[in-house]
Subunit: 361 residues, 2 copies
């Protein structure tokens, strides 16, 4: 690739992996080429492992299908969902980089109001590398942004901010609606470009969507488990929500910040609302118990690592949500398995055990 010699090195080039869960050829990467080409991709192939996923030329990637996941994790592979984009979290586990950006294969490059293509990854990196403000709301939004600052009345002792763990990006065109809302408003499109990044305050939960999401894997990676969804499970489409609620409770406990807002991607196609309804309907009533559970969850001071926090949260899930449905007992066990698998793959000796079946470029 002689041309790449003259390209400027993008931010965090060797410290960030892009994780893409997919069941199809990755033609969508063509549009992302100027922004992703110099980064390493981790592709998690969902569904039939005998199928070959085509990746456009020139991308540096490793690809894992279900056979790889089973081989690498052995019996612990049970914690990784099948036939659901929740499988993406396997990519977080096998990455060895400090940062992760994950994107869906129906997401394209959006344009800002001036008509310029948005480098979503660059904005996520800016979000992750600048502090958050979880303890007090700044009315001019991100105070670290060019042209902004903390407003009058913002305590000076809080202006150093908190370390940012997660950057949650948004979507133009098809909004991330649940099945009932999709059914009621089939034609609604998100056309509003809100030029803001803000910190979700401490103690506040939000619906984290996995379509356009970046995080500091070294900090919060072990909490980014996308749960048991899809094949053999009673729900789907709550993978990212589950991760978001667990992650937020843990970030609040650890003193880390979570941002949402810019960057936008262009979300091209709405999933089928009838299929979605079938996947979601249990989640829709379970979440009425989940939200109060997470709002009330307190982690003891003794939990000083994300793994400890996550194991403690799994215990509370089993105790308190097990009564809602036996599914949560299974999920709590999977949360523990996830941490065991994470620690196994991320101990320094175990790096050689993973053998991706594809590397290109």
């Amino acid at each position: 690739m002689a041309g790449s010699a003259i390209k400027p090195t993008p931010l965090l080039k060797d410290e960030l992996d892009i994780v893409i869960p997919t069941i199809r050829n990755l033609d969508f990467l063509e549009m992302w080429r100027p922004f992703f080409e110099q980064y390493h991709l981790i592709i998690v192939q969902d569904g039939d492992p005998s199928k070959t996923i085509k990746v456009p030329d020139g991308f540096d990637y490793e690809l894992y299908n279900r056979n790889d996941i089973n081989r690498i994790l052995g019996p612990k592979a049970s914690c990784i969902s099948f036939k659901d984009s929740a499988c993406r979290c396997f990519g977080y586990m096998v990455s060895k980089k400090k940062y992760i950006y994950t994107i869906d294969d129906d997401c394209f490059v959006a344009k800002n109001p001036s008509g310029e293509q948005i480098n979503a990854l660059e904005q996520h990196i800016k979000n992750l590398l600048s502090p958050s403000t979880p303890y007090f709301f700044n009315t001019l939004y991100d105070p670290y942004r060019e042209g902004a600052d903390f407003v009058r009345g913002y305590p000076f002792s809080l202006r150093e901010g908190a370390t940012t763990a997660v950057s949650h990006g948004l979507w133009l065109n098809i909004p991330d609606y649940d099945a009932p809302t999709q059914l009621v408003k089939p034609l609604e499109r998100n056309k509003r470009y809100v030029d803001a990044v803000l910190t979700v305050p401490k103690g506040t939960l939000f619906p984290m969507c996995g379509m356009n999401l970046a995080f500091n894997r070294e900090l919060i990676g072990p909490a980014m488990y996308f749960g048991l969804m899809g094949d053999g499970q009673p729900i789907g489409r709550y993978d990212d929500m589950w991760a978001g609620w667990c992650m937020k409770v843990i970030c609040d406990h650890m003193g880390w910040g979570v941002k949402t807002g810019l960057p936008y991607i262009w979300h091209s196609k709405a999933s089928n609302p009838f299929v979605n309804l079938k996947k979601e309907y249990r989640g829709i009533y379970w979440q009425e118990d989940l939200i109060p559970f997470f709002q009330a969850a307190v982690l003891p001071k003794e939990c000083v690592t994300v793994q400890q926090c996550y194991i403690e949260l799994a215990k509370q899930v089993k105790e308190k949500l097990g009564k809602v449905d036996p599914y949560f007992i299974k999920l709590a066990d999977a949360m523990v398995t996830w941490i065991e698998a994470w620690d196994e793959l991320n101990s320094s000796e175990e790096k050689s055990s993973k053998q991706p079946n594809g590397t290109a470029k």
Copy 2:
């Protein structure tokens, strides 16, 4: 005014007062004429009561100077600040309307990115008349806005929202910075139009600025006391902050929402940072104690009216902040006086006791 016969009646025309604290002629109203002309204005004249404030023709207003305040409140007038825009809260007290919009006389009509003049008042009214979402963050911001909704993962039981008590608007051009930030960044201007309205989550404090602020007086009016500032007091420029922190704790207790974001006004002139520093410097270090105090403040269940909440908060201020400085003991007493005065003026029998010295049109 024959021309007004063909003008459409604006929203809440007879249910909203516009409160303006001032020390100068109100030429700034010319620019607001198309938006304010059909509303009633309450002008609170600060400083020398012998000075005559000119109000442009065609506005319907009542004007109160210091002599009026002293006459109407008698000894209780001590709770109303002098030589500080904190005096504006007297206007909230004498209003008999359900809603208040308050604006500074150095604030002009801003333009949106399409170059259209922004009807700030209309946006505030929309904010106040639609619910808030204090219990869970919606990543597409105000879900009640045209073209938006609740996103996937937002609990359905929370979609009815909470009653909105306060709408906090923002400022283009001169941002609302404290003196140290003004000194460090004298040339910074706010050029970013963020097209969003959002609810400040329950449990989160923010710096409420009084320049461009609307609220439901019937709900939260008694908590909108702007404190003791200016003449004879050790601080200034914390009037709106104080009101904002008290108000937020009470709204959280009562289950009401507070919004911030749109609308923008054009803030034309920065106040003198050296003068501001003198007014602010005690506040800058006191607020390091104030914020933890308000973050930890809990109101007992027995407090079921705003007045009860406010009296309880005054008690806690005296007990806990009295140690920070004797000023807070005086302020706590003034908070009680304010409620007494509020109740006196707002009991049904006492309406005739106020005699504004000016009514025009």
